[in-house]
Protein backbone atom coordinates (compact mmCIF):
# COMPACT_ATOMS: atom_id res chain seq x y z
CA UNK A 1 0.00 0.00 0.00
CA UNK A 2 1.24 3.41 -0.96
CA UNK A 3 0.87 5.78 1.97
CA UNK A 4 2.36 9.17 2.92
CA UNK A 5 5.53 9.30 4.86
CA UNK A 6 7.31 12.07 6.77
CA UNK A 7 10.95 12.70 5.95
CA UNK A 8 13.36 14.98 7.81
CA UNK A 9 16.44 16.47 6.25
CA UNK A 10 18.68 19.53 6.28
CA UNK A 11 17.83 21.88 3.43
CA UNK A 12 20.37 24.63 2.71
CA UNK A 13 21.47 24.45 6.32
CA UNK A 14 17.99 24.46 7.91
CA UNK A 15 16.33 21.39 9.45
CA UNK A 16 13.08 20.71 7.58
CA UNK A 17 10.46 17.99 7.25
CA UNK A 18 7.89 17.09 4.64
CA UNK A 19 5.11 14.56 4.32
CA UNK A 20 5.46 12.97 0.93
CA UNK A 21 4.41 9.97 -1.12
CA UNK A 22 7.07 7.27 -1.66
CA UNK A 23 7.11 7.78 -5.42
CA UNK A 24 7.83 11.51 -5.31
CA UNK A 25 11.19 12.62 -6.63
CA UNK A 26 13.47 15.01 -4.79
CA UNK A 27 13.08 17.69 -7.47
CA UNK A 28 9.28 17.53 -7.19
CA UNK A 29 9.41 17.85 -3.42
CA UNK A 30 11.82 20.82 -3.59
CA UNK A 31 9.62 22.57 -6.17
CA UNK A 32 6.19 21.92 -4.72
CA UNK A 33 6.74 21.63 -0.96
CA UNK A 34 9.55 24.15 -0.52
CA UNK A 35 8.93 26.44 -3.48
CA UNK A 36 12.54 26.10 -4.58
CA UNK A 37 12.42 26.41 -8.37
CA UNK A 38 16.14 26.46 -9.19
CA UNK A 39 16.45 22.72 -9.77
CA UNK A 40 13.96 21.83 -12.48
CA UNK A 41 13.09 18.69 -14.35
CA UNK A 42 13.88 18.88 -18.03
CA UNK A 43 14.90 15.59 -19.69
CA UNK A 44 13.65 13.49 -16.76
CA UNK A 45 16.37 10.90 -17.42
CA UNK A 46 19.47 12.19 -15.65
CA UNK A 47 21.06 13.32 -18.91
CA UNK A 48 20.69 17.11 -18.92
CA UNK A 49 21.67 18.21 -15.41
CA UNK A 50 18.94 20.84 -14.97
CA UNK A 51 17.76 19.15 -11.75
CA UNK A 52 21.22 18.99 -10.12
CA UNK A 53 21.19 19.29 -6.33
CA UNK A 54 23.70 18.10 -3.74
CA UNK A 55 22.82 15.26 -1.38
CA UNK A 56 25.37 14.87 1.42
CA UNK A 57 27.77 17.02 -0.56
CA UNK A 58 27.51 15.12 -3.83
CA UNK A 59 25.68 16.25 -6.96
CA UNK A 60 22.77 14.02 -7.97
CA UNK A 61 19.98 14.22 -10.53
CA UNK A 62 16.99 15.27 -8.45
CA UNK A 63 14.63 13.82 -11.07
CA UNK A 64 16.02 10.28 -10.57
CA UNK A 65 16.36 10.52 -6.80
CA UNK A 66 13.44 9.37 -4.68
CA UNK A 67 12.73 11.96 -2.00
CA UNK A 68 12.46 9.25 0.69
CA UNK A 69 16.17 8.60 0.20
CA UNK A 70 16.87 12.19 1.29
CA UNK A 71 15.52 11.31 4.76
CA UNK A 72 18.33 12.10 7.20
CA UNK A 73 20.54 13.68 4.53
CA UNK A 74 21.89 17.15 3.89
CA UNK A 75 20.40 18.67 0.72
CA UNK A 76 21.86 21.79 -0.87
CA UNK A 77 20.33 23.68 -3.79
CA UNK A 78 21.32 26.71 -5.82
CA UNK A 79 19.11 28.87 -3.59
CA UNK A 80 21.46 28.20 -0.68
CA UNK A 81 24.59 29.54 -2.36
CA UNK A 82 24.20 33.31 -1.95
CA UNK A 83 24.82 35.02 1.38
CA UNK A 84 22.16 37.71 1.49
CA UNK A 85 22.75 39.89 -1.57
CA UNK A 86 26.28 38.54 -2.07
CA UNK A 87 26.31 35.87 -4.78
CA UNK A 88 28.57 32.86 -4.66
CA UNK A 89 31.83 33.35 -6.65
CA UNK A 90 30.67 30.69 -9.14
CA UNK A 91 27.40 32.57 -9.72
CA UNK A 92 29.32 35.84 -10.17
CA UNK A 93 31.68 34.20 -12.65
CA UNK A 94 28.73 32.93 -14.72
CA UNK A 95 27.31 36.46 -14.89
CA UNK A 96 30.64 38.09 -15.73
CA UNK A 97 31.48 35.52 -18.41
CA UNK A 98 27.95 35.73 -19.86
CA UNK A 99 27.72 31.97 -19.48
CA UNK A 100 24.02 31.65 -20.38
CA UNK A 101 21.30 33.05 -22.59
CA UNK A 102 17.94 31.76 -21.36
CA UNK A 103 19.31 30.57 -18.00
CA UNK A 104 17.20 27.43 -17.70
CA UNK A 105 20.22 25.12 -17.31
CA UNK A 106 22.28 27.58 -15.22
CA UNK A 107 21.37 26.43 -11.68
CA UNK A 108 22.36 22.88 -12.63
CA UNK A 109 25.64 24.02 -14.16
CA UNK A 110 26.42 26.20 -11.13
CA UNK A 111 25.82 23.29 -8.72
CA UNK A 112 28.02 20.99 -10.82
CA UNK A 113 30.78 23.60 -11.02
CA UNK A 114 30.71 24.05 -7.23
CA UNK A 115 31.61 20.38 -6.86
CA UNK A 116 34.00 20.39 -9.83
CA UNK A 117 36.08 23.12 -8.18
CA UNK A 118 36.12 21.20 -4.90
CA UNK A 119 37.53 18.13 -6.65
CA UNK A 120 39.72 20.05 -9.13
CA UNK A 121 40.48 23.54 -7.76
CA UNK A 122 42.42 24.42 -10.92
CA UNK A 123 40.86 22.23 -13.60
CA UNK A 124 42.22 21.77 -17.10
CA UNK A 125 39.88 22.31 -20.07
CA UNK A 126 39.72 18.53 -20.43
CA UNK A 127 38.72 18.07 -16.77
CA UNK A 128 35.99 20.70 -17.08
CA UNK A 129 34.61 19.19 -20.27
CA UNK A 130 34.64 15.70 -18.80
CA UNK A 131 33.02 16.75 -15.54
CA UNK A 132 30.26 18.68 -17.31
CA UNK A 133 29.46 16.09 -20.03
CA UNK A 134 26.18 15.40 -18.26
CA UNK A 135 24.95 19.02 -18.40
CA UNK A 136 23.26 20.30 -21.52
CA UNK A 137 22.89 23.96 -22.50
CA UNK A 138 20.44 24.34 -25.36
CA UNK A 139 21.60 27.92 -26.00
CA UNK A 140 25.06 26.39 -26.44
CA UNK A 141 26.90 28.77 -24.13
CA UNK A 142 29.58 26.13 -23.64
CA UNK A 143 32.62 28.35 -24.46
CA UNK A 144 31.41 30.98 -21.99
CA UNK A 145 30.67 28.31 -19.38
CA UNK A 146 34.27 27.11 -19.74
CA UNK A 147 35.40 30.74 -19.28
CA UNK A 148 33.20 31.05 -16.18
CA UNK A 149 34.74 27.94 -14.62
CA UNK A 150 38.25 29.30 -15.26
CA UNK A 151 37.28 32.68 -13.82
CA UNK A 152 35.75 31.13 -10.70
CA UNK A 153 38.81 28.92 -10.29
CA UNK A 154 41.18 31.91 -10.56
CA UNK A 155 39.12 33.92 -8.05
CA UNK A 156 39.07 31.01 -5.66
CA UNK A 157 42.86 30.61 -5.92
CA UNK A 158 43.36 34.35 -5.34
CA UNK A 159 41.08 34.33 -2.31
CA UNK A 160 42.97 31.36 -0.91
CA UNK A 161 46.28 33.21 -1.39
CA UNK A 162 45.00 36.27 0.42
CA UNK A 163 43.51 34.26 3.26
Amino acid sequence: MSSPRTIRFTLNGEPVSATIMPHETLVDVLQHRFDLRGARESCGQGLCGCCTVHVDGKPVSGCLFLAVFADGARVDTVEGLARGDALDPVQEAFIEAGAFQCGFCTPGFVMMVKQLLKEHPEPTDEEVRHYLTGNLCRCSAYPEILDAVKLASARQAEAARRA
Binding site: S2, P22, H23, G46, L64, M112, G134
Partner: protein
Amino acid sequence: MTGFEIVEPESLEEAFRLLDPEDPAVRPIGGGTALMLMMKAQIYKPERLVSLRRLDGRFSGIDIAADGSGFRIGAMTTFSMLEHSPAIRRHLPVIAQTMKTLANVRVRNVASVGGNLAHADPHLDLPPVWVALGARAVVVGPRGERTIPVEAIFEGYYETSLANDELIAELEVPVRAGWDALYVKVTTRAAHDWPALGLAVSAELEGRRIRDLRLVLSAAVDKPTRLAAAEAVLRGAEIGPATLRAAGEAAVAETEIESDSRGSAAYKQHLLRVHLGRAIEALAAKRV
Protein backbone atom coordinates in the same frame (compact mmCIF):
# COMPACT_ATOMS: atom_id res chain seq x y z
CA MET B 1 5.08 7.09 -11.79
CA THR B 2 2.35 5.16 -10.04
CA GLY B 3 2.21 4.81 -6.27
CA PHE B 4 4.17 2.19 -4.39
CA GLU B 5 5.48 1.43 -0.93
CA ILE B 6 9.15 1.73 0.04
CA VAL B 7 10.59 -0.28 2.89
CA GLU B 8 14.12 0.06 4.25
CA PRO B 9 15.12 -3.10 6.14
CA GLU B 10 18.15 -2.93 8.41
CA SER B 11 18.89 -6.64 8.45
CA LEU B 12 19.05 -9.35 5.80
CA GLU B 13 16.40 -11.43 7.60
CA GLU B 14 14.01 -8.49 7.49
CA ALA B 15 14.85 -7.91 3.81
CA PHE B 16 14.06 -11.53 2.93
CA ARG B 17 10.74 -11.26 4.77
CA LEU B 18 9.83 -8.17 2.74
CA LEU B 19 10.84 -9.64 -0.62
CA ASP B 20 8.46 -11.99 -2.37
CA PRO B 21 9.74 -14.79 -4.61
CA GLU B 22 6.40 -14.99 -6.43
CA ASP B 23 5.53 -11.33 -6.97
CA PRO B 24 7.33 -9.39 -9.74
CA ALA B 25 5.83 -6.13 -8.38
CA VAL B 26 8.12 -6.47 -5.34
CA ARG B 27 11.72 -5.67 -6.07
CA PRO B 28 14.93 -4.62 -4.35
CA ILE B 29 16.27 -1.13 -5.12
CA GLY B 30 19.92 -0.07 -4.84
CA GLY B 31 20.84 3.38 -6.14
CA GLY B 32 17.70 3.25 -8.25
CA THR B 33 18.96 5.21 -11.27
CA ALA B 34 17.98 2.50 -13.79
CA LEU B 35 14.81 1.47 -11.98
CA MET B 36 13.64 5.10 -11.85
CA LEU B 37 13.83 5.33 -15.65
CA MET B 38 11.73 2.17 -16.00
CA MET B 39 9.18 3.42 -13.46
CA LYS B 40 8.96 6.86 -15.04
CA ALA B 41 8.36 5.23 -18.43
CA GLN B 42 5.71 3.04 -16.73
CA ILE B 43 7.51 -0.05 -18.03
CA TYR B 44 7.76 -1.17 -14.42
CA LYS B 45 4.99 -0.53 -11.91
CA PRO B 46 6.08 -1.76 -8.50
CA GLU B 47 3.89 -2.28 -5.48
CA ARG B 48 6.78 -2.49 -3.04
CA LEU B 49 10.44 -1.51 -3.35
CA VAL B 50 12.83 -2.95 -0.79
CA SER B 51 15.68 -0.47 -0.38
CA LEU B 52 19.06 -1.97 0.44
CA ARG B 53 20.58 1.32 1.60
CA ARG B 54 20.30 0.59 5.32
CA LEU B 55 21.91 -2.84 5.06
CA ASP B 56 25.49 -2.43 6.16
CA GLY B 57 28.35 -4.83 6.64
CA ARG B 58 29.06 -6.82 3.53
CA PHE B 59 26.82 -4.66 1.30
CA SER B 60 29.22 -1.74 1.60
CA GLY B 61 32.92 -1.03 1.41
CA ILE B 62 35.85 -1.77 -0.86
CA ASP B 63 38.48 -4.03 0.71
CA ILE B 64 41.68 -5.38 -0.75
CA ALA B 65 43.04 -8.74 0.45
CA ALA B 66 46.09 -8.47 2.69
CA ASP B 67 48.20 -10.26 0.05
CA GLY B 68 46.84 -8.00 -2.71
CA SER B 69 45.29 -10.93 -4.57
CA GLY B 70 41.87 -9.38 -4.98
CA PHE B 71 39.09 -7.05 -3.91
CA ARG B 72 35.84 -7.50 -2.04
CA ILE B 73 33.36 -4.86 -3.16
CA GLY B 74 30.02 -4.40 -1.39
CA ALA B 75 27.05 -4.37 -3.77
CA MET B 76 25.83 -0.94 -2.59
CA THR B 77 29.18 0.65 -3.44
CA THR B 78 28.50 3.54 -5.78
CA PHE B 79 30.33 3.96 -9.08
CA SER B 80 31.91 7.16 -7.72
CA MET B 81 33.36 5.30 -4.75
CA LEU B 82 34.94 2.79 -7.15
CA GLU B 83 36.12 5.52 -9.49
CA HIS B 84 37.84 7.46 -6.70
CA SER B 85 39.21 4.53 -4.70
CA PRO B 86 43.04 4.82 -4.78
CA ALA B 87 43.41 1.02 -4.42
CA ILE B 88 41.04 0.35 -7.35
CA ARG B 89 42.77 2.97 -9.50
CA ARG B 90 46.11 1.36 -8.78
CA HIS B 91 45.22 -2.32 -9.17
CA LEU B 92 42.25 -2.23 -11.56
CA PRO B 93 42.82 0.90 -13.67
CA VAL B 94 40.34 -0.42 -16.26
CA ILE B 95 37.54 0.53 -13.82
CA ALA B 96 38.53 4.21 -13.75
CA GLN B 97 38.99 4.10 -17.53
CA THR B 98 35.47 2.71 -17.98
CA MET B 99 33.97 5.39 -15.69
CA LYS B 100 35.28 8.12 -18.01
CA THR B 101 32.52 7.38 -20.51
CA LEU B 102 29.91 5.88 -18.19
CA ALA B 103 26.83 8.13 -17.79
CA ASN B 104 27.81 11.26 -15.82
CA VAL B 105 29.02 12.40 -12.41
CA ARG B 106 25.51 12.55 -10.91
CA VAL B 107 24.50 9.06 -12.02
CA ARG B 108 27.86 7.64 -10.87
CA ASN B 109 27.28 9.26 -7.45
CA VAL B 110 24.12 7.20 -6.99
CA ALA B 111 24.21 4.03 -9.14
CA SER B 112 25.33 0.91 -7.27
CA VAL B 113 27.56 -1.96 -8.38
CA GLY B 114 25.01 -4.62 -7.44
CA GLY B 115 22.00 -2.84 -8.92
CA ASN B 116 23.90 -2.39 -12.18
CA LEU B 117 24.40 -6.17 -12.41
CA ALA B 118 20.86 -7.09 -11.35
CA HIS B 119 19.43 -4.70 -13.98
CA ALA B 120 20.95 -6.94 -16.69
CA ASP B 121 20.65 -4.43 -19.50
CA PRO B 122 23.24 -5.70 -22.01
CA HIS B 123 24.23 -2.11 -22.94
CA LEU B 124 25.69 -1.35 -19.50
CA ASP B 125 29.45 -0.77 -19.42
CA LEU B 126 30.63 -2.35 -16.19
CA PRO B 127 29.22 -5.90 -16.44
CA PRO B 128 31.47 -6.98 -19.36
CA VAL B 129 34.45 -5.49 -17.53
CA TRP B 130 33.70 -7.54 -14.41
CA VAL B 131 33.39 -10.65 -16.59
CA ALA B 132 36.72 -9.92 -18.32
CA LEU B 133 38.35 -9.51 -14.91
CA GLY B 134 36.99 -12.88 -13.78
CA ALA B 135 34.86 -11.38 -11.00
CA ARG B 136 32.44 -13.48 -8.94
CA ALA B 137 29.22 -12.38 -7.28
CA VAL B 138 28.16 -13.47 -3.81
CA VAL B 139 24.39 -13.96 -3.90
CA VAL B 140 22.42 -14.26 -0.66
CA GLY B 141 18.87 -15.48 -0.19
CA PRO B 142 16.59 -17.08 2.38
CA ARG B 143 17.80 -20.53 1.27
CA GLY B 144 21.47 -19.68 1.73
CA GLU B 145 24.36 -18.17 -0.08
CA ARG B 146 26.13 -18.95 -3.36
CA THR B 147 29.10 -17.53 -5.20
CA ILE B 148 28.83 -17.48 -8.98
CA PRO B 149 30.88 -16.06 -11.84
CA VAL B 150 29.42 -12.68 -12.84
CA GLU B 151 28.59 -14.03 -16.33
CA ALA B 152 26.27 -16.60 -14.71
CA ILE B 153 24.01 -13.76 -13.48
CA PHE B 154 22.83 -12.97 -17.01
CA GLU B 155 20.34 -15.08 -18.91
CA GLY B 156 19.29 -12.59 -21.59
CA TYR B 157 17.85 -9.16 -22.18
CA TYR B 158 17.01 -7.87 -18.66
CA GLU B 159 16.85 -11.52 -17.52
CA THR B 160 18.92 -12.88 -14.65
CA SER B 161 19.38 -16.22 -12.92
CA LEU B 162 18.61 -14.56 -9.57
CA ALA B 163 15.41 -15.49 -7.77
CA ASN B 164 13.13 -12.59 -6.82
CA ASP B 165 14.14 -12.97 -3.18
CA GLU B 166 17.87 -13.21 -3.81
CA LEU B 167 20.26 -10.27 -3.47
CA ILE B 168 23.74 -9.62 -4.83
CA ALA B 169 25.67 -8.87 -1.63
CA GLU B 170 29.21 -8.42 -2.88
CA LEU B 171 31.68 -8.94 -5.68
CA GLU B 172 34.99 -10.74 -5.47
CA VAL B 173 37.42 -9.41 -8.05
CA PRO B 174 40.82 -11.04 -8.52
CA VAL B 175 43.92 -8.91 -9.15
CA ARG B 176 46.19 -10.89 -11.42
CA ALA B 177 49.84 -9.84 -11.65
CA GLY B 178 50.98 -9.34 -15.23
CA TRP B 179 47.43 -8.91 -16.56
CA ASP B 180 46.16 -5.73 -18.10
CA ALA B 181 42.63 -4.81 -19.16
CA LEU B 182 40.77 -2.39 -21.38
CA TYR B 183 37.13 -1.51 -22.13
CA VAL B 184 36.07 -0.21 -25.53
CA LYS B 185 32.71 1.54 -25.81
CA VAL B 186 31.62 1.97 -29.42
CA THR B 187 28.78 4.42 -29.96
CA THR B 188 27.41 5.10 -33.42
CA ARG B 189 25.39 8.31 -33.08
CA ALA B 190 26.60 10.57 -30.25
CA ALA B 191 29.54 10.03 -27.86
CA HIS B 192 27.22 9.82 -24.83
CA ASP B 193 24.81 7.40 -26.50
CA TRP B 194 24.31 3.82 -25.37
CA PRO B 195 26.95 1.63 -27.03
CA ALA B 196 26.29 -0.32 -30.21
CA LEU B 197 29.11 -2.54 -29.07
CA GLY B 198 31.04 -2.96 -25.83
CA LEU B 199 34.25 -4.92 -25.73
CA ALA B 200 36.14 -5.77 -22.54
CA VAL B 201 39.53 -7.42 -22.82
CA SER B 202 41.88 -8.62 -20.12
CA ALA B 203 45.10 -10.29 -21.13
CA GLU B 204 48.47 -11.46 -19.95
CA LEU B 205 51.01 -10.41 -22.56
CA GLU B 206 54.66 -11.21 -22.98
CA GLY B 207 55.89 -8.64 -25.46
CA ARG B 208 53.56 -9.19 -28.42
CA ARG B 209 52.68 -12.76 -27.46
CA ILE B 210 49.35 -13.37 -25.74
CA ARG B 211 49.84 -15.87 -22.93
CA ASP B 212 46.21 -15.83 -21.84
CA LEU B 213 43.16 -13.61 -22.22
CA ARG B 214 39.44 -13.09 -21.61
CA LEU B 215 37.38 -11.35 -24.29
CA VAL B 216 33.84 -10.21 -23.55
CA LEU B 217 31.29 -8.70 -25.92
CA SER B 218 28.30 -6.65 -24.72
CA ALA B 219 25.58 -4.34 -26.13
CA ALA B 220 25.47 -6.05 -29.56
CA VAL B 221 24.30 -9.29 -27.91
CA ASP B 222 21.57 -9.96 -25.34
CA LYS B 223 24.00 -10.45 -22.43
CA PRO B 224 27.74 -10.01 -21.76
CA THR B 225 29.24 -12.91 -23.69
CA ARG B 226 32.69 -14.51 -23.55
CA LEU B 227 34.14 -14.84 -27.07
CA ALA B 228 35.59 -18.31 -26.55
CA ALA B 229 36.44 -19.03 -30.20
CA ALA B 230 38.20 -15.70 -30.66
CA GLU B 231 40.05 -16.27 -27.38
CA ALA B 232 41.20 -19.68 -28.68
CA VAL B 233 42.62 -18.06 -31.84
CA LEU B 234 44.56 -15.53 -29.78
CA ARG B 235 45.68 -17.63 -26.80
CA GLY B 236 49.40 -18.35 -27.21
CA ALA B 237 49.56 -16.40 -30.47
CA GLU B 238 51.81 -13.57 -31.57
CA ILE B 239 49.86 -10.34 -32.21
CA GLY B 240 49.82 -9.58 -35.92
CA PRO B 241 47.38 -8.55 -38.65
CA ALA B 242 46.56 -12.12 -39.77
CA THR B 243 45.91 -13.35 -36.21
CA LEU B 244 43.76 -10.37 -35.32
CA ARG B 245 41.76 -10.78 -38.53
CA ALA B 246 41.23 -14.46 -37.77
CA ALA B 247 40.15 -13.62 -34.21
CA GLY B 248 37.69 -11.02 -35.53
CA GLU B 249 36.17 -13.55 -37.93
CA ALA B 250 35.93 -16.13 -35.14
CA ALA B 251 34.16 -13.60 -32.92
CA VAL B 252 31.63 -12.78 -35.65
CA ALA B 253 31.03 -16.48 -36.34
CA GLU B 254 30.41 -17.38 -32.69
CA THR B 255 27.93 -14.58 -31.87
CA GLU B 256 24.38 -13.79 -32.89
CA ILE B 257 24.28 -10.07 -33.51
CA GLU B 258 20.93 -8.53 -34.41
CA SER B 259 20.06 -5.28 -36.16
CA ASP B 260 18.62 -2.50 -34.01
CA SER B 261 18.46 1.30 -33.87
CA ARG B 262 22.21 1.49 -33.29
CA GLY B 263 23.14 -0.28 -36.49
CA SER B 264 22.48 -3.23 -38.78
CA ALA B 265 23.83 -6.64 -37.86
CA ALA B 266 26.37 -6.44 -40.70
CA TYR B 267 27.59 -3.05 -39.51
CA LYS B 268 27.98 -4.20 -35.91
CA GLN B 269 29.79 -7.33 -37.06
CA HIS B 270 32.19 -5.08 -38.91
CA LEU B 271 32.64 -2.95 -35.77
CA LEU B 272 33.42 -6.13 -33.84
CA ARG B 273 36.11 -7.25 -36.31
CA VAL B 274 37.76 -3.83 -36.33
CA HIS B 275 37.53 -2.97 -32.63
CA LEU B 276 38.63 -6.39 -31.42
CA GLY B 277 41.91 -5.99 -33.30
CA ARG B 278 42.35 -2.41 -32.16
CA ALA B 279 41.69 -3.34 -28.53
CA ILE B 280 44.37 -6.02 -28.56
CA GLU B 281 46.84 -3.65 -30.25
CA ALA B 282 46.00 -0.95 -27.67
CA LEU B 283 46.68 -3.38 -24.80
CA ALA B 284 50.01 -4.38 -26.36
CA ALA B 285 50.94 -0.71 -26.82
CA LYS B 286 50.14 0.02 -23.14
CA ARG B 287 52.65 -2.54 -21.94
CA VAL B 288 55.61 -1.48 -24.09
